[in-house]
């Protein structure tokens, strides 16, 4: 059978046959367990801190937190350094610093936990606050830019670099008119909006005009607001489809979708202004659920004294 000799079938042949008939992935290289490197599992520890004669290596060893206090010492040394630079400049007669101030807008001070990881020592809240106060004092100095590298090791970016939003470029239709699309949601309403350039302020919702579709002045104002905010009320035409929700929800959805679509037409400062005004933030409010033992979300059953 299968070219095998049944008379001289050895154990090795049996093993070979089993491997052929019932292949197992257990012995595959890719099936081996992957373990983390010990440095990732065990927390970082300090190396030996005293030499063979019992003399400590670090000059602040006896404080109990040599790494942390050495950081404080270095920070203060840097402060003295830039104060000396300032004194020299003032002595020369230069009263305004010839260097720009430090830019720290998009970053925060490192947290206490980050600091603990950095120095591998227990840092109390009090110690942490003292360090931050010293660093705050340093960044207020006029010549702080000289020690930018030192300060930046204590700053953490608020936003990760890769999470920048990509604004879609303008699209052009057959007539050469630029247009842009956006979608938005509010409560249970969802809207898809197309904003066209070189328009006269026409608005169509689900094929109907603005006045026909939204009877309420508040809803009409909501839809107008993005255009009014950027100062281009009569410059664009807007066409949208909206489903779900009620009149107010639909108006909010259209407003958000319009703001998203408008971004393609505008410079960055105006987009930032729109963000500050709240036009680009989805309103997270939805109907709150009813809870058991209550009439509604917040309304309770009649309270009986006895």
């Amino acid at each position: 059978m299968m070219g095998e000799d049944p008379e001289n079938f050895t154990q090795a042949d049996i093993d070979r046959a089993i491997r052929y008939l019932l292949p197992s992935g257990l012995f595959d290289k890719q099936a081996r367990p992957i373990m983390k490197h010990p440095s990732e599992i065990f927390p970082p520890q300090k190396e030996t801190q005293v030499d063979a004669e019992g003399r400590p290596f670090h000059y602040l060893f006896y404080t109990g937190k040599p790494n942390f206090f050495s950081l404080m010492h270095d920070a203060y040394a840097k402060l003295l350094e830039i104060q000396a630079i300032e004194d020299k400049m003032l002595a020369k007669g230069i009263y305004k610093p010839d260097i720009e101030p430090l830019f720290l807008k998009r970053s925060l001070w490192l947290s206490r936990e980050d600091l603990v990881k950095m120095v591998i020592e227990d840092v109390t809240d009090h110690d942490y606050n003292r360090l931050i106060r010293l660093l705050e004092r340093i960044i207020q100095q006029p010549y702080a830019k000289h020690i930018e590298e030192f300060v930046l090791q204590f700053r953490r970016d608020i936003m990760a670099a890769g999470s920048k939003e990509v604004i879609e470029p303008l699209k052009y239709d057959d007539n050469g008119i630029a247009f842009s699309e956006g979608t938005g949601k509010r409560k249970t309403a969802m809207a898809t909006v197309t904003v066209r350039d070189r328009g006269t302020g026409k608005v169509f919702i689900n094929g109907k005009g603005l006045l026909d579709y939204f009877k309420n002045i508040q809803d009409r104002e909501q839809i107008m607001f993005p255009f009014q905010f950027v100062g281009k009320l009569g410059d664009f035409d807007m066409e949208c489809t909206v489903e779900g929700g009620g009149s107010s929800g639909q108006a909010g959805a259209i407003r958000l979708a319009t703001s998203y679509a408008l971004r393609s037409f505008l410079p960055e400062e105006q987009i930032e202004q729109m963000r500050q005004a709240g036009l680009l933030t989805k309103d997270p409010r939805v109907v709150e659920r009813q809870k058991p033992g209550q009439k509604g979300a917040r309304k309770k059953f009649t309270w009986k004294k006895r």
Binding site: V50, G54, R55, P56, Y59, L60, F61, Y62, G64, L80
Partner: protein
């Protein structure tokens, strides 16, 4: 080449040359605190009182400072661990820098209770405690006696301390009556102690080099 035992020499490292009485005066070392905060144990070190301000006797300061510097240099010569202590915020940086520059240790931060008395548990079994503690200000920033004074006495560690007119010199092995609040005087003390330590270490290095050379010659 000095052949005699350093310990039998009255001033082996010549610390008398490190400063003069005029240097002490220029560094405002004689200026004490007000009469109201005078510690009774400091009365013997006072030269006099002028407009309720105590003036320390610089002749006595000279003697005490020479003794203190001598002890420091000898301990550095014998490779001892020297620790500078100061809890005055104004001079934290100066003291730490001085200690770092002469290769010794500093403690100018909050004193953890068991620093000396619970050292085995806090730092581990291999550590050695300092062989000398130099207190550049024997008081904490709330005008109370620094714990290091008492704890050094408990652990049989000799102390050198700059005692101002409001300090208690009793538990300090080598008190040095002097001003501990003025930057000029603090800079002077740091310079003097650093110089004494460097002299001790230099003498040790020379002696070790000679011994090594003799050993090499002997091997050959």
């Amino acid at each position: 080449m000095k052949i005699d035992d350093p310990l039998h020499h009255p001033d082996y490292f010549n610390v008398k040359d490190l400063f003069t009485l005029q240097d002490l005066f220029n560094a405002k070392v004689h200026l004490g605190h007000k009469l109201g905060v005078l510690n009774p144990h400091m009365k013997k070190y006072i030269f006099g009182v002028r407009q309720k301000m105590c003036i320390l006797d610089l002749d006595q300061t000279m003697e005490h400072l020479q003794l203190a510097l001598n002890v420091t240099a000898h301990i550095a010569y014998r490779k001892g661990i020297i620790m500078f202590v100061n809890r005055s915020l104004q001079f934290t940086h100066l003291v730490e820098k001085t200690a770092h520059e002469c290769g010794e240790y500093a403690h100018t931060r909050y004193w953890q209770g068991g620093c000396f008395t619970n050292a085995l548990l806090q730092y581990g079994p291999e550590t050695k405690l300092p062989h000398l503690v130099i207190l550049l200000n024997t008081q904490t920033n709330v005008f109370q006696e620094h714990t290091a004074v008492r704890d050094s006495a408990k652990m049989n560690i000799p102390t050198v301390g700059i005692v101002d007119s409001n300090c208690n010199p009793n538990l300090i092995t080598y008190p040095v009556p002097g001003n501990d609040d003025t930057p000029v005087s603090m800079e002077l003390y740091c310079k003097l102690f650093k110089e004494a330590i460097m002299r001790g270490k230099q003498a040790r290095k020379e002696k070790d080099d000679i011994a090594k050379k003799l050993a090499d010659e002997h091997k050959l």
